[in-house]
């Protein structure tokens, strides 16, 4: 169920990603395969741009590594949500579709995460994502711009619905969220930092703020187990 708003948002984002893919010379089939396998917006975007520029294979690997490095942190955090008994195969499948959004809803689950929760979300989000991108290649700019715009903020609304309720109950989280908003805005606007890609910005800020918060406000055992 929680996958449906994500799927709607994905469709809009994927559609615009498809337009990038088309401009990079990819066919609808190639775009469909690439998006279904990677499930990454910034990663997909960077990858398609790299294909257009005909970079070396090594450059491609490095580009994807840098753009997607935040998933490494998310994967570390998510490893603590899984029951230690979760088998390898489930871990592989969950990791395969560990996107920003799926990470968000997975962390919002109370207690241990059941792999089938993720599979449920994946069955609606992956087709929506890949089909949206392929359609973006085929029909390009047909969908009215105003609708694409409106759909694309849905994802952020969802993020807010995930982080605000815990912030309401926990003053430390509220403070951390506020600081994150402020620093993220500052990093995006201050000329010295604004050249940094959003993927890197997310990673630097997450590590920096998270580290400071962990030292200032260590959490007791019970709280992290929820």
């Amino acid at each position: 169920m929680d996958g449906i708003p994500i799927a709607l948002g994905y469709f809009a984002v994927a559609f615009t990603l498809g337009i990038t893919a088309k401009n990079s010379g990819l066919t609808a089939l190639q775009t469909f395969i690439a998006t279904a396998l990677t499930n990454a917006s910034a990663g997909g975007y960077a990858g398609f741009r790299a294909i257009a520029e005909n970079v070396s294979y090594l450059d491609m690997a490095l580009t994807i590594l840098v753009v997607n490095i935040r998933y490494f942190l998310m994967s570390c955090a998510l490893s603590q949500k899984l029951s230690p008994k979760t088998p390898l195969l489930h871990r592989l499948f969950i990791g395969f579709d560990l996107t920003d959004e799926i990470f968000g809803i997975s962390m919002a689950v109370k207690g241990n995460l059941c792999p089938y929760y993720n599979y449920g979300a994946m069955t609606v989000t992956i087709p929506s994502w890949a089909t949206g991108a392929a359609l973006g290649v085929i029909i390009g700019n047909v969908l009215p711009h105003s609708i694409v715009n409106a759909l694309s903020v849905g994802i952020y609304g969802m993020f807010l619905a995930i982080i605000i309720p815990p912030a309401k109950q926990n003053k430390i989280i509220a403070g951390i969220v506020t600081v994150s908003f402020a620093l993220s805005f500052a990093f995006a606007k201050i000329p010295l930092f604004s050249g940094i890609s959003s993927g890197i910005r997310i990673m630097i800020l997450t590590v920096a703020i998270g580290f400071v918060a962990a030292i200032l406000f260590p959490v007791k055992e019970e709280e992290t187990d929820e």
């Binding site: 708003p5 709607l8 948002g9 190639q30 690439a34 396998l37 990858g47 005909n54 491609m60 690997a61 994807i64 997607n68 490095i69 935040r70 998933y71 490494f72 998310m74 994967s75 570390c76 955090a77 490893s79 603590q80 871990r91 592989l92 969950i94 990791g95 560990l98 990470f103 919002a108 711009h145 105003s146 609708i147 715009n149 409106a150 903020v153 952020y156 609304g157 969802m158 807010l160 619905a161 995930i162 605000i164 309720p165 912030a167 951390i176 994150s180 908003f181 805005f185 959003s198 910005r201 800020l205 703020i209 998270g210 580290f211 918060a213 962990a214 030292i215 260590p218 959490v219 992290t224």
Partner: protein, 103 residues
């Protein structure tokens, strides 16, 4: 000219490994308090950083994004569901941009 399918293969492989390695390697509960606390705070920070200022940059008008951001926070604070907040944010942007175009 490099092969597009090899490019796609590299994209897949690198993305997959980044996501899967920590999940498969870290199997136990981490005991270190600082590290646990860090990982506990990570999702909130990451999601907050990803939301703002991106929400005001995806829309044509900064104002529409900002209104949607503020209303989204209010609705979430009042306990509206995930789906409800997401749809409301979309509707607000659609209406705001419509009104702005009329003016």
């Amino acid at each position: 000219m490099n092969n597009t399918y090899i490019y796609i293969g590299i994209m897949f492989l690198v993305t997959f490994l980044i996501r899967v390695l920590p999940l498969t390697i870290i199997r136990k509960r981490i005991k270190n308090v600082t590290l646990r606390s860090f990982l506990y705070y990570v999702p909130y920070i990451t999601l907050a950083v990803m939301t703002f200022p991106a929400i005001i940059e995806t829309t044509d008008s900064v104002l529409a994004g900002l209104v949607s951001f503020i209303v989204g926070i209010l609705l979430a604070y009042l306990g509206v569901s995930l789906f409800g907040v997401a749809v409301s944010c979309c509707a607000i942007v659609f209406v705001c941009e419509f009104i702005i175009k009329l003016l």
